[in-house]
């Protein structure tokens, strides 16, 4: 995408100045062809990664839905007296994938713009960290990287969940912001709610659940945080790969268009050079 902008500027700049030299055009043509080769192979790589991510996502969806069920059925609401909120941004270290990371970061930035006192942020992936740390660096309590190269595992999710629980940040409610995969061409930035022990214990509907003690609920919530994180990481990874595939496909198409235009200009210029040389020869001969 960057390459496209640079090449296009140079291209138009050249047109304004009139005839480009043959050499300059052929060099540019070669570089665009190289860019196309790169974007095409990146597309192939992400297509393979996407296929795997989608297969794995199908396996994980029941976990995510199962973990969500209880919160929905028990109608748990965030406590009003504890305003502290935790926001977990699920992105990755890698770019060149359209707007997946920016849309997660933008969602969090709008929330922080409303209230930056009571919200703490956990950034998963270098991309969200890079975007959020510029203005809201003080709100970040944890940052993770080394995600995106390989598919996320349950171990990754449980490591993060453990770190969140041991961070000693007391939050009343929280949310996981991630990209939910819809189809190859679309994803939706969504949130999953996370609750603290207090807010669950305060829920009026909890009484219909039989024989619960605090330790069971605590362990339950700990595990469900890990499973929700696992699920959202998988959704995020799948959206990212599909989006990268589309982005690289578009980049290859753009490069293709540019190659066509450049080839045309190249041929025209070559013809012009030949014509000019002929004119020079003919007029030179007639002057004799």
């Amino acid at each position: 995408m960057l390459g496209k902008a640079v090449v296009q500027n140079a291209f138009f700049g050249q047109q304004q100045r009139g005839m480009a030299t043959l050499k300059a055009i052929s060099m540019r043509l070669k570089s665009v062809k190289n860019i196309q080769k790169i974007t095409q192979s990146m597309k192939m790589v992400s297509a393979a990664k996407y296929a795997r991510a989608e297969r794995e996502l199908k396996q994980v969806r029941p976990i995510g839905n199962g973990a969500k069920q209880f919160y929905e059925q028990a109608e748990i609401a965030p406590p009003e007296d504890v305003p502290q909120k935790l926001v977990i941004a699920i992105t990755s270290d890698r770019g060149l994938c359209g707007a997946v990371h920016t849309s997660v970061a933008r969602h969090i930035r709008t929330e922080l713009a409303k209230d930056d006192q009571n919200i703490k942020v956990v950034c998963v992936g270098d991309k969200s960290k890079a975007i959020l740390s510029r203005i809201y660096g003080k709100n970040i309590i944890l940052a993770c990287n080394e995600i995106g190269r390989l598919p996320p595992t349950f171990g990754d999710a449980s490591k993060l969940a453990d770190a969140v629980l041991k961070s000693e940040y007391k939050f009343g409610s929280g949310e996981i912001v991630y990209n939910r995969f819809k189809s190859v061409v679309s994803y939706q930035t969504s949130i999953l709610p996370v609750y603290s022990l207090q807010s669950v214990a305060a829920s009026p509907k909890l009484s219909i659940y039989d024989s619960l003690d605090d330790e069971v609920i605590q362990s339950y919530l700990e595990f469900s945080l890990a499973s929700l994180l696992f699920y959202s990481m998988k959704e995020g990874a799948c959206s990212e790969q599909s989006s990268r595939m589309t982005a690289m496909d578009n980049a290859s198409k753009n490069a293709g268009e540019m190659i066509d235009k450049l080839t045309l200009t190249f041929n025209r210029t070559r013809q012009a050079v030949i014509t000019r040389e002929l004119i020079e020869i003919i007029s030179g001969a007639s002057a004799l």
Binding site: Q59, V60, P62, I63, N65, G66, A67, Q69, F70, Q73, T153, F154, S158, I208, Y209, D210, S211, L212, E215, V216, I217, S219, Y220, F223, S224, A226, S227, F230
Partner: protein, 158 residues
């Protein structure tokens, strides 16, 4: 003791529910998903036995809503066609909702026939020596968990 208590609870709740909701088809919407594999996704089954920290208990359709945390052990699923599937779970959660849907989420789960009995016994000896060499409370607690798990593994593999 805990197991007995939950059994009696189960019986009473079931009797109560059948009198109230007689006429409905008794179905359990059962989901069993682990980090490595999905075993059931919204399937109807007859009964599920689960090991939990508050004692092992059986889940029949229209069980009273509850939450439980899994203990390492064998989950037995009694399928509609009469077959019984035994799956070893490492850990996870059980949710029984008001609408009679049951979710078991586990970190790792495998059918018991995939467990190697000699490997399990080896793990038990290893974790026992780990306990004797544990230097602090945390290492001791970790070793105790390891013993608990490997004992359950040995038992399941027999």
């Amino acid at each position: 003791m805990a197991a007995m208590r939950s059994m009696s609870r189960l019986l009473t709740s079931r009797a109560l529910n059948t009198t109230i909701r007689r006429g409905y088809a008794e179905e359990m919407n059962f989901t069993f998903a682990a980090g490595n594999q999905v075993f059931y996704d919204g399937k109807s089954v007859k009964q599920v036995d689960v090991p939990s920290f508050s004692g092992s208990f059986g889940i029949l359709p229209k069980h009273v809503p509850t939450l439980a945390v899994l203990k390492p052990g064998v989950v037995s699923v009694y399928e509609e066609d009469g077959g019984v599937k035994k799956i070893f779970v490492s850990s996870g959660t059980v949710t029984i909702n008001e609408d009679s849907s049951v979710q078991i989420l586990a970190e790792e789960a495998h059918p018991i026939e995939n467990i190697d009995a000699s490997a399990a016994r080896e793990l038990l000896t290893k974790s026992q020596s780990q306990l004797s060499s544990a230097a602090n409370d945390q290492a001791k607690a970790e070793a105790e968990i390891a013993i608990e798990v490997s004992e359950a593994l040995v038992k399941a593999a027999e």
